[in-house]
Every structure is written in C-alpha cells, then in structure tokens.
Symmetry: C2
Subunit: 493 residues, 2 copies
Amino acid sequence: MAKQKKQPRPKAETPKGFRDYFGAEVTERNEMLRQIAEVYHRYGFDPLETSAVETVEALGKFLPDVDRPNAGVFAWQEEEGDWLALRYDMTAPLARVAAQFRNDLPNPYRRFTMGPVWRNEKPGPGRFRQFYQCDADTVGTASMAADAEICAMLADTLEAVGIPRGDYIVRVNNRKILEGVMEVAGLAGDDKEAERGIVLRTIDKLDRLGEAGVRALLGEGREDESGDYTKGAGLGAGQADVIMGFMAAKREDGPATVARLTELVQGSDIGAEGVEELETIADLLAAQDYGPDRIVIDPSVVRGLGYYTGPVYEAELTFEITDEKGRPRQFGSVAGGGRYDDLVKRFTGQEVPATGISIGVDRLLAALRAKGRIGGTAQGPVVITVMDRDRMGDYQAMAATLRKADIRAEVYLGNPKNFGNQLKYADKRGSPVAVIQGSDEAARGVVQIKDLILGAQIAQDATLEEWKSQPAQREVPLDDLVPAIRAILDRQG
Amino acid sequence: MAKQKKQPRPKAETPKGFRDYFGAEVTERNEMLRQIAEVYHRYGFDPLETSAVETVEALGKFLPDVDRPNAGVFAWQEEEGDWLALRYDMTAPLARVAAQFRNDLPNPYRRFTMGPVWRNEKPGPGRFRQFYQCDADTVGTASMAADAEICAMLADTLEAVGIPRGDYIVRVNNRKILEGVMEVAGLAGDDKEAERGIVLRTIDKLDRLGEAGVRALLGEGREDESGDYTKGAGLGAGQADVIMGFMAAKREDGPATVARLTELVQGSDIGAEGVEELETIADLLAAQDYGPDRIVIDPSVVRGLGYYTGPVYEAELTFEITDEKGRPRQFGSVAGGGRYDDLVKRFTGQEVPATGISIGVDRLLAALRAKGRIGGTAQGPVVITVMDRDRMGDYQAMAATLRKADIRAEVYLGNPKNFGNQLKYADKRGSPVAVIQGSDEAARGVVQIKDLILGAQIAQDATLEEWKSQPAQREVPLDDLVPAIRAILDRQG
C-alpha cells in the first residue's frame, strides 16, 4: 500500500475580505446595538431575526443565463438542487417574511433587525465582505406618517448612541419630485429608462464629483483622473440645467425649498405628488418639534438604489474628522433609507407599501472612535498571581471571592516559574490590580495588592524585589481583599 | 426580438432547516446572551467575534478525494479557487485565531464568543441547520486549574440565566481514564483504533440505549426497532465487563469514585494520570466551595467528539419536563466541553493545550420556557388610535410625549376608517393601553384612555359606542396623558 502523502499545514488566515473582532470592538458594538434596539423598541418596532441563509429565488438574484447566480452574493447549490445564498441586506429577507407570514403579522408591521450581511465583492482597504446592518421598516402602510416617524426615530437613535444634536443632520427628499423633474426635462417614458438610470446614479455622486463632473456625466461623458472614460446620459444643456436646478433647490428653510420645488415640477403630476408628500412629512415632523436642526428637506439626497418609490432619507454626521492622510474631512453618511412599494409584490402579486432605514453600525462606531467618544480598550481583570503552584486552590478561591463582589478577576494560568512573565501578562491584559501571596504572606493571612496603573512604568522589567518596594503596593489582611481592591478601582476611576 | 418570458413568482419560504425568530424569541435570547457574557467577562474572558465564513482549509474539512468539500458544512468555491465555508462550530475558528494572532494575544488566552453556527445536515423536527452557540475557552495552559475554572463558571452561568441550584448538575470525567480502561480491556495500540472509536460512540449513548443496548454494540452488534443493524466493536464479554464497570464507577461521593477508578485503571499509566487530573480538579473546586450539589465526578460522561484529550464536562438540567406526547422526561444536556490539545497544532506544528465549553443557548431557552421561567410574549406598545386622519401630527406628538417618558408607544398607521380594525390591531400587538382622541375630545383638550387588559374580553368586536361605555375607559386632560397611562401600566404590573 502506498504511504499516505503528508498534507501541508493549513494556513491560519481569516479569508480575504473578512476580519475578526476582539475585546472592546465586540463589546462596543453590542452596546451600540442595544442602545439602538432600545429606541426602536420604544417606537413600537418588534425584533425579527431571520436566518443568514435564504433561497436565491427569494433573494431575487437568480439570473437564468449564468451557471452560478453568485454575482454579488455568496451562493451555493444544495444537493437536491436549490440554490441558497447568504443575505446581502436585511430588506430582501423582510420582503420574504412579510409575504410568508402575512396572515399572522400585525398590519402595518413595524420591525427591526440587526446582524451581519454578506457581499461577494472585491475586498479593499476598509471594505469588508461581512458587516453589520441595523434596520427598521414599516410594512403595510402608504401613510407619510410612517416616513415621518422613521426620520424622527433616526434622529433619536443617533442621539441615543452618543452623537449630540448639531453633529448630525437627517436629510429628506422624495423620488417622485425627481421623477417630475425628469419629466419636465423631457426624460419621461419607457424608452428613456436607461437615461434616467444614468441621471440617478450620476447626481448621487455630486459630493464626490462636484458640479462639473456631474454635468459632464449628464452630457456626453467624463474621463476620470485615471483616464477611464464613462459614457454620459447624453442630455442637452437645457435638460442638464433642469436636473442641476433640482439638485440646487435647497433654500433657507423648508417652506422656501418646497416653493422652489413646486416651481421646478410645474406641469408634472407625479412631481406635484412628491412635493405634497414632502410637505406632509415636514408638517408631521414640525408637530413633534423635530426642527431643521435635526431634520431638513434637501433635494440633493437621491440614494442610488433603484427600488425607492417615494420619500428617501439619509443621516449624515456633520463634524470633521482627520482621514488617514491627516486631512480634515466630513464624516458623511451613516444611515439611509426610503419608501419602496414593490418588494413584497414579487412574491404575492399584491402591492404592499413599505418604508425603512438601515444604519451602518460599523461606520457609526468608527465615527464615535474618531471623535474619542468610545474607548477602544476595555479594562482588564484583576490578576491573581501564582507564587506557589500547589496553592492554586487558594488563588482560585480569592478570584471567586472577588467575582462574588462583582469584581472582574482571574488567576494567572501560564507557567508561574518566572514572576516577570506574570507581570507582563497582567500588563498585556490591561489589568488594574495584581494580587500576590507567597507562602510567607499565606502563613500570616495577608496578601500584597499592587496598583498596576500607578506602577505601570516599571512593570515591564521589575524583579520581584523591586516590585515589592514600590509604594503602589501594600499588604492587607486576606479578609480585606475586596474592600482594598475596590478602593484602588474607585481611585483609578 | 423575442418577448422575454415571464418569470413565475418566487416562493416566499424560509429555506429548509432554517427558521425566523420573532419578537420575544429574539429579545429573550439576546437577554440570555447578555447574562452569559456578564459571567464570562467577570471570569476574565474576553469577547471575540470571528466572521461567519472561514476557508475550508482552516476548518479542516477538506477532503481531497471529493469534488465538493461540503460534507456537513455549507461550502462554495471562490472565483479565484479558494473554498470557503460557514463555520460549523466556534472551536475551529478559535484554533485558527489562536494560531494567526499567537504573537499578539495574551498567553494563556481566555476568550468567549457567541453567535450562530451552521450545519449542512438533513433537517428534522426541531433540528435546525443554523443555531446559536456560546463558547468559552482557555488556550495555552495545561493546568487543571483552567478546567476547574470552566466548570465553576458553567455552574455560575446556569444560575445567572435562571436555573436554580439543584435544577442542574455539572458532571466531570477524564478521557485518559477511559483510555486507561481500554488499555486494561486490551484495546490499546494503533491497530485497535477503530474498536476504540466504536466503544467511545457507544458508551456515549448509554442514556438512550440502556445497558443492554450498549452491551450489544460493544459485542457483535445491535438491531434497532426499525430493523436496522449496527455492527458492534466485537469485544468479548470480559472486555465489555471492564468498559461497563467504568461506566458504573460512580460512587456516593468524589473520593469514593476516585478510589474505584484507581482500581479500574490499575496497571495503566495513562489511566493513573487521568485519575490524578480528576482529583486535582475535584480539590480545586472544593477549595472554592463548589460541592457535589453543583459539580460531580461522573465516569459515565464521555462526550462523543473525538478531539478531547483529558477532562470532559457536561451540564445537565435535572428537572423533568413534559415532552410533546405528554410524557415526563429529564430535560438533559445543555452544555458540554473538555480539553483538546491538538487543534492549534494543525496550523503551527506546536502543541497548544486548550480547554473549553459550549452552551447550547437555544436548548437552554427551551428549558426556561418549558419551566415557565421566561414569558414567550412581550408587552406591546401603547397604541394611539387615529380618529381624524388630518390630525396625524397631534397623534404622533402624543406618541413622542409618551416615548420621552420612556413609555413604548406607536400611532396606528393602517387605514383608520374602520375603528374596529384599530382595536383588533391593538389586540394583536399585545397593547396594554389605547389612546383615543376625536375632534370633540381635541376641542376640549382631553383624551380617552382605555385599559385594554381590563377590556380585553369585548375588544374583538365592540363598536366605538360600546367601547366608550366600558368602565376600563376614562377621560383625562391631554396634559395628564403620561401619569394616567403610567398609572394603568403600574396597575397591570
């Protein structure tokens, strides 16, 4: 028999585009999700957790002309033949649930959901193929009150997670106005769908490309810095003027903006409908005292996604941060959404109006970190060092005593021979206090406790003798372990 | 051009073996995860969240002789050729992380992690292909103190989530003793590996098959009720006696059990080592006052998984529940784990001792539900009904006022025409209170508030007039909305 060939060792690597989250990264995200859930819950939204896996059929990504329907999604085929995929957002699973459970769910159905989504895209710096989304949607009502409510909730949520009023703004617009503007610009009709698509994607890039760039793309096309040429929508100068006029329609306050928009969509029914919806939302928000310091009407918000059918909204952080090259820049968008009335129809044939937002939790966490509003490092546990390995039971009992008093504590479990290693370990753990008890101390019923924050400077390379001579260290009766350590923790704040 | 063929409507269905979680199911699980995390954290364990996706190479499931390495896992091939898969447990990703980040992590490294895992198995009733695991492991120490600590932590965790002392038991055993027993039974050596595997899997089924069933499988084999025949390990009666003697070695207390085990492994070095390890753990637990009411030595715990190398532990709920057929039965195992010293070695070639537990969160939730210790339904929001659709702003302002006072509230957003539908909706939402304000009430600056728990019996089909005549309903000034509703909520308790 041939000897089996030795397998090479597997590589210990996170797959490309994925990452691991450690310690405070996990805790801080969980805490943010908890804060968001609290606000959503208070607004009457109910939690929903769908599985990570959906049928490709339900996700609506099935392309019959390719072998594997995995463009943009991670998909695989079941042995019995069904294609399954990881969800790429939270909206597609919601549409499936709303159709599947339509007889059991309250109507309208307000739900929130939080969890990872997966995108099968080329990973890049800071771009991951798994990230968190945190969505709230109301399914089953065409009322603008649902949209107003979601805008108000979004403002409340940002404040709840630690973005003070003034550091964010929620912008609201309506796709129907844009449709009306396109009609006025002569871009109505089925045969102009491609042009409208280009216009939509183009004006969404106003921030990035500037007015000249957008004008070029609305016209013949544009060559970017790298020399790549993008074909434009082919609009004439007059048509482009109408579109650009819409993007610049924001005035000093809501009513003035609405008046300007009314002018712009003159003669378009759908446009007039959009302006009316926008006014209704503005009135509803005003009745609840959500003023322009929190929520504004802004015609430049269009949202790239094709499926929005009415109001669209976006939350932006308005403070500056310093980017990786040291340049100041606006932090930008952290959440967005809008009304989409056709998603459930795919399943049932019936139109079910729906509206909702998605919060980019990872971006929001990055913003709070950039502002220094969350820590990034968590306090480590009290470390009970091991001076005498036969007395492990005593050391574990000390840890148990501390934990019962709600103090985070652990016993050093590495090789206790080299005491310096134990101190290095405590340092790496971010430990606030070390507890030391040799046989001498044990005989006298005392322990040494050491304030590691105070003693941090010498902790790296001190001998036990140097260590013991430090003022940050003192001897207390074993029975006083809890109060003595609590006093140090309180002092450290 | 040929007309595009119309696609049939997609089915709105959760994929087979997956499920959705609604409302209280989500909240209760999150609350349990939070409670568990709190205990783990207090023991000095740090959170880790790896991505759901791993390379198949890192998971160690790659079988070079099959086309698709997806036996048991959901796997797919990247366009560049790498096979990726959803994690099937939390231990394999931990081994990868411990190898990948070995220079950055503290050593020993205590970590906990919680989240879904995926199994590509045939789904069955109550068996899902995605479920939660909640693991804690210590990597990098061979000390039995790590194992004792994890057993103590498991006991504390069960109490923290609401299983009182007496309703659970943590059982501890050691694989080395079993190895010693096999040696005594003449099953040592590489050529007996298959037999040892069968013995291991067989005795793990003692609960289910009973002594006779296990004896049959240790011998020639066994025919089950369905007529299926399973080949046995082929042991002689004397050999089987040794094995069964081991399974029945539990005595009235730990020391007596240890004494019995010492007898059984007489002459086997590895067996003696196992007994010594078990004694060390027992001593360490005794030093922290974890007595046999919480943690016991029990030789019948073997754990099916092949990779355990030393101590193994299992937590069992000891109370009876009623199964779906109305028969009383023990709830059984909710957590388990043990020491595995070879997992990291796959990557680095170096042996890294590790030990840990995995809690089956979904089973634990089911247990608490079966005992009526968690609710299963969450209280719904206060519902502000809509009597006059032009005054939506006022209704939303009422909801905002309630939320500011930390009262969960929502405005009815369906079609307000039929008031009965609004009440049905409030009922479906589990709403405690409804608020009603018609134009008459608005003119007088008052609202009607209705205790829906009190009025539940007639809520289904009452007319507005009947509704208004109920004693559970009363009129209060709009300014008293918050205190009046809080009084009802307090009364409902």
